[in-house]
Symmetry: C2
Subunit: 506 residues, 2 copies
Amino acid sequence: MNPEKAYAELVRLSRDETVLSSCVDLLEWDQEIYMPRDGVEHRSDQSALLAGLVHDRGTNPRYGELLSAIEGSDFISDPDSPEAVNVRELRRGYDRDCKIPRRLVQELARATARASKVWAQARKENDFKSFAPWLDKVFALSREEADAVGHNGDRYDALLEDYEPGMTAEKLSALFTRLSADLVPLVDSLRGQEAPPNVLEGNFDLDRQRVFTDSIVSAMGFDFDGGRFDLAQHPFCTMIGPGDVRIGTRYFQNHIGRGIFAGLHEAGHALYEQGLDRAHYGTPMGEAVSLGIHESQSRLWENLVGRSEGFWLHFYPQLQGSFHEAFQDVSLETFRRAVNRVEPHLIRVEADEVTYNLHIIVRFELERALLSGDLAAADVPGAWNEAYQRYLGVTPKDDRSGCLQDIHWADGLIGYFPTYSLGNVFSAQIFSAAEAAIGPLEDAFAEGEFLELRRWLGDNIHRHGMRYRSEALIERVTGNSPDPSALIESLSQRYRSNAGTSAGRA
Amino acid sequence: MNPEKAYAELVRLSRDETVLSSCVDLLEWDQEIYMPRDGVEHRSDQSALLAGLVHDRGTNPRYGELLSAIEGSDFISDPDSPEAVNVRELRRGYDRDCKIPRRLVQELARATARASKVWAQARKENDFKSFAPWLDKVFALSREEADAVGHNGDRYDALLEDYEPGMTAEKLSALFTRLSADLVPLVDSLRGQEAPPNVLEGNFDLDRQRVFTDSIVSAMGFDFDGGRFDLAQHPFCTMIGPGDVRIGTRYFQNHIGRGIFAGLHEAGHALYEQGLDRAHYGTPMGEAVSLGIHESQSRLWENLVGRSEGFWLHFYPQLQGSFHEAFQDVSLETFRRAVNRVEPHLIRVEADEVTYNLHIIVRFELERALLSGDLAAADVPGAWNEAYQRYLGVTPKDDRSGCLQDIHWADGLIGYFPTYSLGNVFSAQIFSAAEAAIGPLEDAFAEGEFLELRRWLGDNIHRHGMRYRSEALIERVTGNSPDPSALIESLSQRYRSNAGTSAGRA
């Protein structure tokens, strides 16, 4: 077969599969946002049917024939060309899909559906014991999956590959060791300080929070003609297709920070999706490269932009206008310190940006041990509590606020957690590179000007899709391999100065 | 093949096809309600892909094999059994789908997509000439479709069969002749009367209109756990699946009547869908029988319930509470007369319930003539204006408010219009039968009590799905064949008394 013709057909196959899969994305979006309560049974019939069709297409042997006809030909001699990238990534996905037997796919789907239900009940009743056998079951199946996919001795790598292609447990382990070595003392040094007044708690009209957040994300460059915001139980961002990127988010009457920062976070994800090259939609060149890079975009906007002094120099007067009563007597500096408050506690999703990574490191250690078999599900609560004490200096009073807090493992997401911290590490490296290229950005933020940063991210990250694997992309953009020092430096600088300011003004 | 086994497989095929098709319904719902502007191109890719898959399944030769294995067997000896009904209707649909060549399906899709765009522009610019060739084209293709499907000499029957199985142009023609013979003099007799004060126009808060309409449809029995209301450009109702029936509707700041009655209308459709037998979902026994019967349900609630004195005895005080300023000095009787105002004018979608049927009769006459070739597209404006003068005593000042007002023909919906008036005819017959069975209903309405009516409709209409064709269903429920006299009697009684009241109080 002529490689060019084969490639054209390959792209058509991939586009069709992506379009079909995007219908599942809409079903899921609707389920989170608008589906009436009693529609749930029919929705699972719809999703199962379409997911089956997507899987059939993903394992269509025609992929294998077409890929073989192209691989090794001159047509993809430049490894960074869109053609070569698409062939590389489609081969990876096709091989992976074919290696996992249909029986195992179905068993995983059934087991995680059941485990998620048991987990929800167990969390409610603080009853880890009832969940433990299901946790063992999910990890046993994940071991099977890893063996089916294949690995170089560490099963964890095979699972990680699904979220962060090219990353390994060994590299992660080295990176997290360095990260925790610096983070633990930083957290300790902040522990003794006087906490800033918690001006984020109070009574805040939900609709005004929404309007204020919309105005921020507009300024960031979120395109409302090509996307939308809705209210959801849990914040998320999903791309339905080109011109259609949707965010679900939530506001809290009694806390103004959580909703705003969740909005910035999800808008960071959305800018990435909106910045992908439409011409490549439906092929790897038009897809986000990894979860770690995705999270770097959300974290960059949430933390490095959204907690900066410049950012609030611009937005705080607007916030004061919208919530006059709450903030009329609160200085910008007090507010800024409130959104930069560090306090170790038990719940990951409520953690500040400094301690957050320690929550992740705990989970990474435990899931590696669970997968290798060094840790049994029954021993998770003890191991969890010990690790929390060691890294964060706090011990859960019960499993509900301990090892039962996250749905990920029940859902079969093993190897997913570390991408959150990778995102934090990447975000600081990328932001530092952006400032090196453009110059310091805080003055622009203070003017409400985010265009230059967004353009730079678009040119250097978004538009490349999967052209470079995450490590290669980071090296290309920052000149360094993945490295926690930019994050540590950024946190130290901001939080120690925060502490200094606190002391100076106390 | 064993007929029972064949039937079980047939049901599975039909269910799967329905579930797949319901994914298209969600795509369309989302497109009407929430899809961001720039998502339109991708949405058409999604819809086209799924529609193609649905079509492939609908023409799967396995249907033919399974149906042949069942037909003629003892397994379906009772023609009213669910099995026999499903086999009868699946055969009808399968044969129809197979008879229309794929080329024609695609040509119709392309031509109507293009014709709809040209129509929208032509209407905007009041330029019928630019639309005329496309109207000819759509009718030419519809002739081809009718010939492919097959008919007994009248092509119109073949098209009508898609919306109202079993109905014929000849029967419709007889029915409409009787209807117009009584309607035209009724409209004439009302023409000279003093118009009631138009208290429905003013300035009405949109959100309060929504809340008020929600409270009405809740009282009607619309199940909000199994459905939802959203704002849409054009009112519609769609069933996504069991437990998920959705309405889109619209409110007008300057007119309180249009939104409320559109809400009742769509809720009437929704009660039908919510009243179908879930156990039969995905087969004809779980589907609405025809557009005419569907419309009878919406019209019954909109007109026979929603414009009744009892209904407003209950709801008018609530309306006065919600819109105090507008209605504090308006008596119930004045309000009731305002929602029962008759006035011939040019636009079908704004017509009152009396003149509405004359708008339909005009369209029925013209589309029959267009299909037979007796009328060329170029001559439509003249024929249209002549017919409006003859039936309604009004002449459009331009084609925008004349023959360019509806999208149906551009969209390829030939044979669709008459089901609107069939619905009106059926609604009066059904309501009259309901009162014969239950007793007069206005007292219950005045108490805000609609349960008995809804139950009766559920037992006699909704739960049967496609068990009986529309004519048979009407005969079964009312003891008569489709007959306009119940409608004429209902209208005469209500509107002549309305007139009497007016004269008495003038």
